[in-house]
Symmetry: C2
Subunit: 467 residues, 2 copies
C-alpha cells in the first residue's frame, strides 16, 4: 500500500541532485530528533541534545556515525505541529557533495529512518491537517511552474485561495442539509425548517460559482500547460524557421539567467510570463510534415487542439486572392469557438512593406521575416494580446487541475438534481441525499471526503522525492 | 580585480541547479538582513523584522516583491560573526522550482545584492578569519570528494588538522627567530639568547616533519585524484572487456543509491572507498590503441604514469615462456620505484583452472575471465590490497594540495639553508633571514602570509558558486 503509516520516520534529500555548495536532507517523524541526536555532536565531538532546543533553531556541529565524521553540518529543528509535515522535522544542511549526501542518507537509514516516497512529506502535511488536498496538489504545481502566470495561480491555490472558496460553498450547503435532515426527524409534523425559496436561491448562486470555476479550467489548463499554438501553412512558407526564430529570441532573453536550460522543453516559449506550447513542432522541424493543402488530417488535428492557429504564408508566392480562398478553408476547419486565427505574411525582407500593406489591406495580418528575424517581437506581443483578450484576471480563482474540474462537474449535476427535486416537490430525504452528494464532491477537492489510498497514491506519487 | 570588497552583500543559489522539493539561496554581507526584511512578510502579508530575532533561528513567511508573492519561504538568519562567512548571513529555503529560484535571485539583486562569484562565501569566511586558507581549500576538496578516503582526508584538513600541525611548527620557529633577532639588538655584546644546539635540534625535527608531509603528497595526491592504473597487454588480451567488467560491477553496486550517475567519470572506479583512475582508457575502448609489442611509446607513457600496471594476457594464447619474456621487458620499462605490477591471466573460462595454476606456478598471478565476469572481485580485492600495502594511515596528516607541497618544499630548503648557516657559523642576521623565509612559506599554506589577490582568485575561482 502506498499510503504509509504516519508513525515512522522518513528521510530524503530535499534539494536537487548534484554537486553544489550545500545540500539539505529532511527527516520527519516521531524519531526525527532522536535519530539526528544519535549522530549529532558539537564541534569538539561531544554529544549534543536537540530536542531540548527551541523549535525553528539551527545548530552547527558534526554529523558522525560511530567514530567517523560524515560532515560538518547545520541542523535545523522544527517541532511538530509547527513544521511543514506537522511532525517533528529536522533539516540537515551538509556540504553539497553527492558522496556526502549519500553517506548521510545511508547513515540515517541505518539509524532507523526509512527512505521517503515521492511526495510523502507533503502527504504527511495533508494527513496531519497542515494542508488540504487541493493545497497539497498546488505544492507540486508551484514546484513545476515554469511561467509567471502558472506560478501565480499555483501559489494562490497553495495558499488556500481555492480551498477557501470551496469551503464557503460547502459550509452554506451543509447548513441547509442539516435543516432538511432536521425536518426528517419531525416528518410527521410536516414542518419546513429549510426555507425552500432561500435554498433555491443558494443553490442557484452555488451553481453559478461552480460553473464559473468549471469555465475557468479552460484558462487554468492553458496557464498550467501552456496555450496550444499551431503553426500551419504551405510548404516553404517558413514554419520551422519562424519557430526557431521565436525559440532563439527567448533563448537570448533567458541566457543571462544561469542554469536555465531550454533543451528539454524546446517547443514551449514563455512570453511575458505566459507559456505558449507549440503543437506537433517535431513535424515542423524535420520538414517532412509539410501540408500541400489545408485539410490533411494531421493539420486538421493540430487545428482542433490549438487555441491559436498561426497561418503562415509566403508573401512572394501567395496572391491576396489565394490567401482569401485559403483563409475561407481554414475558417471552415476551425470548429472551436475560442480558437483564434493569426495571419502572418512571411518573407517581408523580399518585399516592399508599404506595397505589401496596400496589397493585403483587406486582411488583418502581421508582416515579418522569420529568416531575417524582422518583426518577431511584434508577433510575440500579438500572442500575448490574444491571451489577454480573454480578459483573464489572475487574481480570480482559476481551476487548473483536471481532478478538481471533474469534482466540480459532479457537484454541478448533484445541485441540478437538487433544484429539479425541489421544483418537483420530492420528499425531503431525497433532496437531502442530492445535497449530500454535492457536499461529497466538493469535499473531494479539498480532501475532506477522501478515503481512497489509490487516489492519494496517484496524487502524491507525482511529486518529487523529498517533498 | 577578483577579490571583491568584503563590504557589499552577495547572493547566490547554494543548492544544486534543478527541480526539487526545496532550494536554498544565500545572502551574506552588511545588507543581508535589510534586503531580506524588505521582501519578507508574515503569512498574512504583514512586514516582519528579522534583525531583532535571535541568530540561528528560522522564520516562515512570504517572500514578496511589491504586491507579487514570489514564494512561501523559510528564512534562517545567522548573525555575524557567528555565521559561515563571519558576516550577517541569510539562508532562504524556497520551493525548488528553477523558475522560483531565478525569480527570487533576480529580486534579491534588484534589492541591492550582487551576484556572488565562485567561492566568494568561503573567501569571505577566510577574510573574516573563520577559516585559514588551507581549511578554505579543503572545503572545495570536501565538496569534490567522491570516495571515502578523499572525503576523510579533506574533512580532516577542513577541520584544521593540517593547519594545526603547520601552526605548531611555525610557532616553534617563530620563538627562535625572535630570540635570534633579539641577539642582533645586543650584537656588540656577543650574547647568544638562542641556544644553537637547541635550534639545530628543532630545525632537524621540523625538517623531518616537513619531509614526511612532503612524502605524504604521493599518497595524498593519489587519494584525491585516484590511484593511476594502466592496463596493458597484447591485442585481444581482453583489456577493454576487463575495464568494462570492473565498471559494470561498480555500477551494480552503486545503482541502489539514487542519483549516482557514473556517466561522466567512466574511467574512475571506487573500491572500498579508494579511488582508482584508469589511464588512457579511451584507447582501450575504441580498441584501435592496441599494442603489438610492449615498448610502443604510448604504452611506455602509460606505464610511467601508473602506480599500478596491470599486465593482462590471454591464457589460451600465451605460453609461460612467452609470459616470462614479456614480464622481463615490462620490468625494464617500469622505472618508478613505487610502481607495482599485477599479472592477470584472462579467459580462465576457456581453460582448466587447476591445470593453469600448475602451468603458471612460477608466477604470482590472478586468473579471471573478463568476458564471463569470473573472479573480478578477486581483482578488486587485490587492487585495494596493493594500496593498503603502502601502509597508509588516513588519520595521519596527508598533504593533498600541490600548492601546499610546493610551500613545504620551499620551507624545507630554507630550513636546510638555516642548518647549513648555523653549522658554518654565519652571522645571526643571516640565520634570522633564513628562518623568516621558512616562516613565510609555512604561513603561505594557512594564508597568514598571503597578500596576492591573484593567488586568492586562483584558489577560490575553482569553487562552485554559492559556496
Amino acid at each position: 500500500m502506498f499510503v504509509a503509516p504516519n508513525t515512522d520516520t522518513i528521510a530524503a534529500l530535499a534539494t536537487a541532485q548534484g554537486t553544489a555548495a550545500i545540500a539539505v536532507l529532511r527527516l520527519s517523524g516521531p524519531e526525527a530528533f532522536s535519530i539526528a541526536e544519535s549522530m549529532f555532536r558539537t564541534r569538539s565531538g561531544k554529544p549534543k541534545l536537540l530536542h531540548t532546543k527551541n523549535s525553528h533553531t539551527a545548530h552547527f556541529g558534526l554529523l558522525c556515525e560511530g567514530e567517523v565524521i560524515l560532515d560538518e553540518v547545520l541542523v535545523a529543528i522544527f517541532k511538530g505541529p509547527n513544521s511543514y509535515t506537522g511532525q517533528d522535522l529536522v533539516e540537515i544542511s551538509c556540504h553539497g557533495s553527492i558522496f556526502i549526501q549519500q553517506q548521510i542518507l545511508q547513515a540515517l537509514y541505518r539509524h532507523g529512518a526509512r527512505p521517503a516516497q515521492a511526495g510523502e512529506f507533503t502527504l504527511r502535511a495533508f494527513l496531519n491537517g497542515k494542508l488540504d488536498l487541493s493545497q497539497a496538489e498546488a505544492v507540486a504545481d508551484v514546484i513545476a511552474s515554469t511561467s509567471a502566470a502558472s506560478h501565480q495561480v499555483a501559489m494562490q491555490h497553495m495558499r488556500g485561495g481555492f480551498s477557501n472558496k470551496i469551503a464557503v460553498l460547502r459550509e452554506n450547503l451543509l447548513n441547509f442539509a442539516s435543516l432538511i435532515e432536521l425536518e426528517l426527524d419531525f416528518s410527521e409534523e410536516d414542518v419546513e425548517f429549510a426555507d425552500r425559496t432561500e435554498l433555491k436561491k443558494l443553490l442557484f448562486t452555488i451553481q453559478k460559482i461552480v460553473q464559473r470555476l468549471i469555465d475557468s479550467f479552460d484558462v487554468g489548463n492553458v496557464i498550467k500547460n501552456g496555450i496550444p499554438v499551431a503553426i500551419v501553412g504551405k510548404p516553404n512558407a517558413g514554419k520551422s524557421t519562424l519557430l526557431n526564430a521565436l525559440l532563439e529570441e527567448e533563448r537570448a532573453i533567458v541566457s543571462d539567467i544561469p542554469g536555465t536550460t531550454r533543451d528539454t522543453i524546446e517547443e514551449e516559449i514563455t512570453i511575458d510570463g505566459i507559456l505558449f506550447r507549440f503543437i506537433d513542432t517535431a513535424g515542423l522541424r524535420d520538414t517532412t510534415d509539410i501540408i500541400e493543402a489545408i485539410g490533411v488530417s494531421r493539420t486538421f488535428d493540430k487545428i482542433k487542439e490549438a487555441s491559436i492557429v498561426i497561418y503562415l504564408f509566403d508573401l512572394v508566392e501567395m496572391t491576396p486572392a489565394e490567401l482569401r480562398a485559403n483563409i475561407a478553408t481554414l475558417r471552415g476547419l476551425v470548429t472551436g469557438a475560442e480558437t483564434q486565427i493569426l495571419l502572418i505574411g512571411n518573407k517581408i525582407d523580399k518585399e516592399d512593406l508599404p506595397q505589401a500593406q496596400r496589397d493585403y489591406a483587406e486582411f488583418d495580418l502581421l508582416f515579418l521575416s522569420a529568416k531575417e528575424k524582422l518583426f518577431i517581437d511584434d508577433l510575440r506581443q500579438k500572442l500575448v494580446s490574444l491571451f489577454d483578450s480573454r480578459t483573464v484576471n489572475l487574481t480570480e480563482t482559476i481551476v487548473t487541475n483536471a481532478r478538481h474540474v471533474d469534482a466540480l462537474r459532479h457537484t454541478n449535476s448533484a445541485i441540478q438534481r437538487t433544484i429539479d427535486g425541489i421544483q418537483q416537490n420530492i420528499p425531503g430525504d431525497l433532496v437531502a441525499q442530492d445535497i449530500r452528494q454535492a457536499l461529497h464532491y466538493l469535499g473531494e477537492i479539498t480532501g475532506q471526503e477522501i478515503t481512497s489510498d489509490d487516489l492519494l497514491a496517484n496524487i502524491f506519487g507525482k511529486f518529487c522525492i523529498g517533498k
